[in-house]
């Protein structure tokens, strides 16, 4: 097919708008043996975008281990799948919606949730839980408050409406995210073995069905939008913003549930980035066949839409199905019952290509070997950041900015450490009646109906010290997730990742990406957690400033016995308080690099990232799991952001009891002036803070000694104070006020800006 009429090759500007380089265009022409026409060029631009093709990151992602006896489906389908035993499978995936959320926070975040739900629905699964990971600039800035509030509103709106509980997540604020907020959402679903659907098209002559919303001019070039820097021009690309309709998606969900497992269902796929074109091309590619689409059969919301717009529209709430020839009426009837429009828009063909016709006239034909698999891999330069000159000892040790008590209270009052209740009380976290542990603890726990087992879910990001060492910081993120699961006795089944990075054309960012993926691969291997699905979000930069490396990691684990969950926090007076794991590391036993304390005191991470011993992490997690199962621990919490000081305060506030403990570290002979605060607030890895009945101590000691995990009894639960002898002492009420009050306090300022908290539709 030749470029109809116009023989001139596209201008550089035209290519730029499609986010294609001249080299890529040349490669496409060579592979096709001709020049693509206008529509074909648009299809190539979308499918060859970073967002759809992973052209920059693919070669790195191959390192990630994705196999285990439990893994049924690794990366490559809509979501990863692990086996829960007894014929039940669990699907999960995380995805970013960073760019759309920056432009239109409510709808951007909402459609992000809608998109990740559809990935799980497309597996034939029923979504049972959502989690989110969100990052913004500092809340002192009214714009950031507004954006944060509206993203939370959008996430809540979609999840609350559709009736899938949002059971966990994480919230983080730092200047570095002021111009590039991060909005990652994770969805977890359950499906019986025989009902798992796949996203493929095969069987010549089988009809291709489009179901759900009418196709409008929404988000044309959304895929390329997510693949270029956010700049002023983003304003002009605004039609890229889509308005979500959770109501329609709820109907889609229920209808797909009824149809999953139907022997006449060949393939099921959601329409995500690049709309119909990518859904159809990828389904056909997976099935080793081709697809022909007649654009006239696509039901449109607006008049005058051409093939280009129909094929590239990113209208939400649509799914593509391939069914056995002859079954189409039965399927359409099912969808009609749910009030959903469903049209046959094409058929499977033998020739492995995507063919588009407009009223019977062929308007595009591209081999899938080019369209899906032909993008030339990008290998931008990468250059390591020179290791920072370690200023030793740390200035915070030498010249502490605050007395230990004050430092402790400040860290408790930081929105990064304080409770996120302000966020999750706006999320329905209970619908479905299976939420045994909701947001606000370490891992969320969902029961599995008819079993003693449960699912444990946690979202954690790379440690902030990933700025100092992306490899180790990323591995620490996975280790933290593992600790969160261990606290409820759960064994990890798998992880889904969302790699949020800056400009891949910056050699430094490219290096960060390479390092982070290597760190994730190494940690996943050492900790025994296969990576089953994921997503890459690049170009999170503004005016040349990239975000810090921020991989988010969503873990799923299996809780063997819900009756054996520990209680939240310090709840029984007289119980022992114990620290499991190595009490400290580094000079004077304290590690401050990348800690929240350091961030508050100096604004940015410095020094070196905390040490990480993956083998010790794995041993400790296993030992903690065993102790939980043996009911040796009354409560268990890991030390993460804010170190021992935050863990102690949280355990005390959650359980309603204070504690008097000793310092886990003996003071050095001549302690630095900042030593006490550093003991409390340093972020040494691999530690758990537990409480236990004194009668169980001997057994716990035996178990941990056998496992080679250090144990230190620090003191006792009880009273109205939190006291670390010789270090600092604060009232329990003060700790509670900081933890509970920080975020509502920070949000109390006047809300400004467009939209007044109005959505496109109300919430019940």
């Amino acid at each position: 097919m030749s470029r109809a009429g116009t023989a001139a090759p596209p201008s550089r500007e035209e290519l730029r708008q499609l986010a294609l380089t001249e080299e890529e265009y040349g490669s496409a022409c060579r592979q096709l043996g001709r020049e693509p026409n206008q529509l074909e060029l648009g299809l190539l631009g979308a499918l060859w975008s970073e967002h759809c093709s992973y052209k920059t990151s693919k070669r790195l992602l191959g390192q990630l281990p994705s196999a285990s006896p439990r893994v049924v489906q690794g990366p490559g389908e809509n979501a990863g799948v692990v086996d829960l035993g007894g014929g039940l499978l669990c699907c999960f995936k995380m995805e970013s919606h960073n760019h759309p959320s920056a432009v239109e926070p409510v709808q951007g975040a909402a459609t992000g949730v809608g998109g990740i739900l559809r990935d799980v629905i497309a597996m034939g699964a029923r979504p049972v839980a959502l989690l989110d990971s969100i990052r913004f600039g500092a809340l002192e800035d009214a714009r950031q408050r507004q954006r944060f509030a509206r993203v939370v509103e959008g996430i809540g709106w979609y999840g609350n409406c559709i009736g899938v509980p949002t059971v966990g997540g994480e919230t983080y604020f730092d200047q570095a995210y002021s111009e590039n907020c991060l909005v990652n959402a994770m969805c977890v679903g359950l499906v019986e073995q025989g009902r798992l659907a796949r996203a493929l098209a095969r069987g010549e002559g089988n009809p291709v069905l489009l179901v759900g919303a009418d196709t409008g001019r929404d988000g044309i070039h959304g895929a390329t939008f997510a693949s270029v820097e956010l700049d002023r021009e983003a304003e002009e690309r605004r039609p890229a913003v889509q308005v979500g309709n959770p109501f329609l998606e709820k109907c889609l969900l229920e209808a797909c549930q009824e149809l999953a497992g139907d022997p006449d269902l060949v393939g099921l796929q959601d329409c995500g980035a690049a709309g119909l074109s990518s859904a159809c091309a990828e389904m056909a590619h997976r099935g080793g066949s081709g697809v022909e689409i007649e654009v006239q059969r696509v039901s449109r919301r607006e008049r005058g839409m051409g093939p280009y717009e129909v094929m590239l529209s990113e209208s939400q709430e649509r799914m593509v199905l391939v069914v056995r020839e002859g079954a189409e009426e039965r399927f359409r009837e099912r969808f009609r019952r749910w009030g959903l429009r469903c049209d046959v828009i094409g058929r499977v063909i033998a020739e492995p290509c995507l063919r588009v016709t407009d009223g019977g006239r062929p308007v595009a034909q591209l081999p899938l070997s080019v369209l899906v698999a032909g993008v030339p891999p990008r290998r931008p330069q990468s250059r390591a950041e020179p290791a920072p000159a370690a200023s030793s000892p740390d200035p915070l040790l030498e010249v502490p900015p605050w007395p230990a008590e004050e430092a402790w209270l400040r860290v408790l009052g930081s929105p990064n450490c304080a409770s996120s209740r302000w966020v999750w009380r706006q999320y329905d976290h209970q619908v479905g009646d299976d939420t045994i542990v909701g947001p606000g603890a370490d891992a969320a726990v969902l029961r599995l109906r008819g079993r003693v087992q449960g699912l444990a879910l946690s979202v954690d990001s790379a440690h902030p010290s990933a700025r100092l060492d992306p490899r180790r910081g990323t591995a620490m993120g996975l280790a933290e997730g593992l600790r969160n699961l261990a606290c409820v006795g759960a064994e990890p089944l798998g992880v889904t990742d969302c790699l949020n990075f800056g400009d891949p054309d910056s050699p430094l960012v490219m290096w960060q990406l390479e390092e982070a993926v290597a760190g994730l691969a190494e940690a996943a291997r050492e900790l025994g957690v296969p990576v089953v699905s994921g997503n890459v979000s690049l170009h999170n930069q503004y005016q040349g400033r990239s975000i810090p490396p921020t991989p988010s990691l969503g873990l799923v684990g299996l809780v063997p016995d819900l009756e054996r969950l520990p209680r939240p926090g310090f709840c029984v007076e007289g119980d022992l308080v114990a620290l499991l794991g190595r009490p400290g590391a580094g000079p004077e036993g304290v590690e401050l690099g990348g800690s929240e304390y350091q961030r508050l005191a100096s604004g940015q991470p410095s020094g070196s990232a905390p040490e990480l011993d993956l083998a010790a992490e794995r041993r400790a997690a296993e030992a903690v799991r065993q102790a939980v199962r043996a009911r040796l621990l009354r409560s268990c919490h890991d030390c993460s952001l804010g170190g021992l000081g935050v863990a102690l305060a949280e355990a005390a506030v959650w359980g309603g009891q204070g504690a008097v403990v000793r310092s886990p570290l003996a003071p050095p002979e001549r302690p630095s002036p900042g030593w006490a605060a550093a003991v409390l607030l340093g972020e040494t890895q691999g530690r758990y803070l537990a409480s236990l009945d004194p009668g169980r101590l001997a057994e716990l000691e035996r178990a941990l000694a056998a496992a080679g995990v250090p144990l230190a009894v620090l003191g006792r639960v009880g009273g109205e104070w939190l006291e670390v002898s010789g270090v600092a002492r604060i009232p329990l009420a003060g700790a509670r006020e900081r933890l509970e009050g920080a975020l509502p306090g920070a949000m109390a300022g006047p809300a400004l800006g467009a939209g007044m908290g109005e959505r496109a539709g109300p919430v019940s």
């Binding site: 432009v103 239109e104 709808q107 919303a213 409008g216 001019r217 929404d218 605004r238 039609p239 913003v241 889509q242 308005v243 979500g244 309709n245 109501f247 329609l248 919301r301 607006e302 209208s315 939400q316 009030g339 400004l752 800006g753 467009a754 939209g755 007044m756 109005e758 496109a760 539709g761």
Partner: protein, 80 residues
């Protein structure tokens, strides 16, 4: 009066259209649902009020990403 731009999907309008059809109002060809905001203004110069309301719409009342606005002043310092 603030409403979704014509190219923006209005799921609410679609559902209301269907509901009206179900009730037998077949003559309804389309529905769009927007906001109606009434402001009560301290008396003042209508010229100036117009400029100020314009500004309020742009800065706060209307989300320019997806919405358009239109307003009129009526006597007694009301704008909507």
């Amino acid at each position: 009066m603030v409403r979704l731009k014509p190219v923006v999907n209005d799921p609410q309008g679609l559902v209301v259209t269907e509901a009206l059809h179900a009730l037998g109002y077949d003559e309804v060809e389309g529905v769009r649902v927007g906001k109606f905001i009434s402001l009560e203004l301290g008396d003042g110069d209508p010229e100036r009020a117009r400029a100020r309301v314009e500004e309020m719409c742009r800065r706060l009342l209307c989300n320019g990403v997806i919405e358009d606005y239109r307003f009129q002043l009526s006597e007694g310092g009301e704008a909507s």
